[in-house]
Amino acid sequence: MRTRSIASTGLGFQLFRHAMLGLGAVLMLAPFVIMVSVSLKPSGEIFSPEFTLLPKQWHAWQNYSDAFTKQPLARYILNGFIVTGAIFLCQLLTALPCAYALAKLRWRGRETMFLLVLLGLLIPPQVTAIPLYILLWQVGLLDTYAAIILPSTISVFGIFLMRQFFLTVPDDLVNAARLDGLGEFAIVWRIMMPTAMPAVIAFGVLSLVWNWNEFFWPLIVVQSEHLATPPLGVVYFANAEAGTNYGPLMAAATAITAPLVIAFLAAQRWFIDGVTMTAVK
């Protein structure tokens, strides 16, 4: 009775549901399929008028080895891990203590601090680009890892998200830890962080995705090829190949997309919940 009143479970409706969603899923996944498919083919087949999913003549090894040897693709991917790892570590080190102070401590300046966080949430990252570029130029840090990492060391979104989570942690837990002789700093890392693990993981994956895919800022501050992050690397690749050599290009695109897609599929549940959590203010 109850389920019937909530969802239309009629066979006709379910067929309609699967037909529409199936078509949608095909359209959403098609670019991925095309990408992988092209990365397996020789150029003759890529430009043949009829499209086949699998190659008649496998060219996967040549395309992928071209992708990794014509350009330092492995280096780009390594850079991606270095940059995203360093950024997330910095964000965690600054956001968690601040979120704890906002959620669990009484101090003068708390309202002001929270207001600053909310203000920060309103500012898109591209707005600060010109002044930060000038700043990095003056301290001589342009074209370094630091230039890519520094502006992202603070995540107001992370502070906001972790504060919301910490508010739900009972005060008794914090007080008990204090009675056990733990200092405030130890409480943050040994009590609050383990309790907030789901939120930390969600924040971590979001941070990874954003910073792995970030193109605007690295494009501005990086000139040296050996510092390129994955999206920059793909562009260097496309420019070097002049847009004609699609096989190796798609192989490079696949290699750069793969780490994130694998991470997403592995952490899908947390990830989608994490994104949802951000919507529930």
Binding site: L102, L105, W107, P151, V156, I220, F264
Partner: protein
């Protein structure tokens, strides 16, 4: 009397300790929040103030001196045809991408939640574009938009629909980029709508059924749609702000062309600021960009306030 005598030596040290604790708490809070406080000013709020001030100067990158220029940059902007074209392009892009990605995301969310089968698969399939590297996928779309071997034209000509070189045709280039934007935005709006749907109390549907609202459409019109109001507002805001930020696809696929047909605000800012090194003028463009994003947020907050009177 004896009670008082007993209690005072006990309570006194405690209150004293509490006071000491208060100071310690203040201190601890500042130590814990201090780094974040400093970084928010250095990396976010300070630069935002700086960009605003810079927009009133005549500074070009690398010059030794800064001169006050008042509203000159804004005046130049208003007199510049390219700026107006850029603005029109940006608004057209937002007006194209936002309604479609919100509507398709909502449709996907409702259909996915209306049954059990393959729920996880559909969610993952629609969400995958959100986590993929837009830049790599932009190159895939470039291939798909290819005039002769591209999948899009091949499919269209199958149905006898006229084809064109979508990214090179000034009439279609902006919309071709919009299609990529929609493809990437649907997943996020779907996930947010799923969260909104889950928050609707189930007994509302039962109440509606008692009132005789039996059909799927009636249930949607009388319960789902009104209850989704806040989620809808949030999704539209997020999608609009992200659409205003379109840059990657423009930079890589069209370079603002053909004939400035895909020149959008952020791309214009990037070119002026980092190719032509006209920092002050680029700062003024940034202020306009920030103005639009804040406007969208203010509208959302206003409507949200209005909505809560009914909710």
């Amino acid at each position: 009397m004896s009670d008082l005598a007993l209690s005072s030596p006990l309570t006194l040290p405690i209150t004293r300790k509490a006071r000491a604790g208060e100071v310690a708490e203040q201190l601890a809070a500042w130590v814990l929040a201090g780094p974040a406080f400093a970084l928010i000013w250095i990396m976010l709020l300070g630069p935002t103030v700086a960009v605003f001030l810079l927009s009133f100067t005549d500074w070009t990158f690398g010059m030794p001196e800064i001169g006050w220029a008042g509203l000159d940059n804004y005046r130049e902007m208003i007199g510049d045809e390219v700026f107006w074209k850029t603005l029109r392009n940006t608004l057209t892009y937002v007006a194209f991408v936002v309604p479609l990605s919100v509507f398709l995301g909502l449709a996907a969310a409702i259909l996915i939640e209306a049954g059990e089968g393959l729920r996880g698969f559909y969610r993952a399939a629609f969400f995958l574009p959100v986590v993929s590297t837009l830049l790599a996928m932009a190159l895939v779309f470039q291939f798909a938009f290819h005039p002769t071997v591209g999948a899009i034209n091949q499919t269209l000509s199958l149905f006898g629909i006229p084809t064109t070189d979508w990214l090179k045709n000034p009439d279609t280039a902006l919309f071709a980029l919009g299609v990529i934007g929609i493809w990437q935005a649907i997943g996020l709006s779907m996930v947010l709508f799923i969260a909104g749907l889950k928050a609707i109390p189930k007994d509302l549907y039962e109440a509606a059924a008692v009132d005789g609202a039996d059909g799927a459409f009636e249930r949607f019109r009388r319960v789902t749609w009104p209850m989704l109001g806040p989620a809808m507002l949030f999704v539209v805001t997020i999608t609009a702000i992200r659409a205003f930020q379109v840059f990657d696809t423009v930079q890589v696929l069209t370079d603002g062309g053909p004939n400035k047909a895909t020149n959008v605000l952020l791309f214009q800012m990037y070119q002026e600021g980092f190719s032509f090194l006209r920092s002050a003028y680029a700062a003024a463009l940034t202020v306009v960009f920030l103005g639009f994003v804040l406007l969208v947020t203010v509208i959302q907050v206003r409507l949200q306030d209005k909505n809560t009177h009914y909710g």
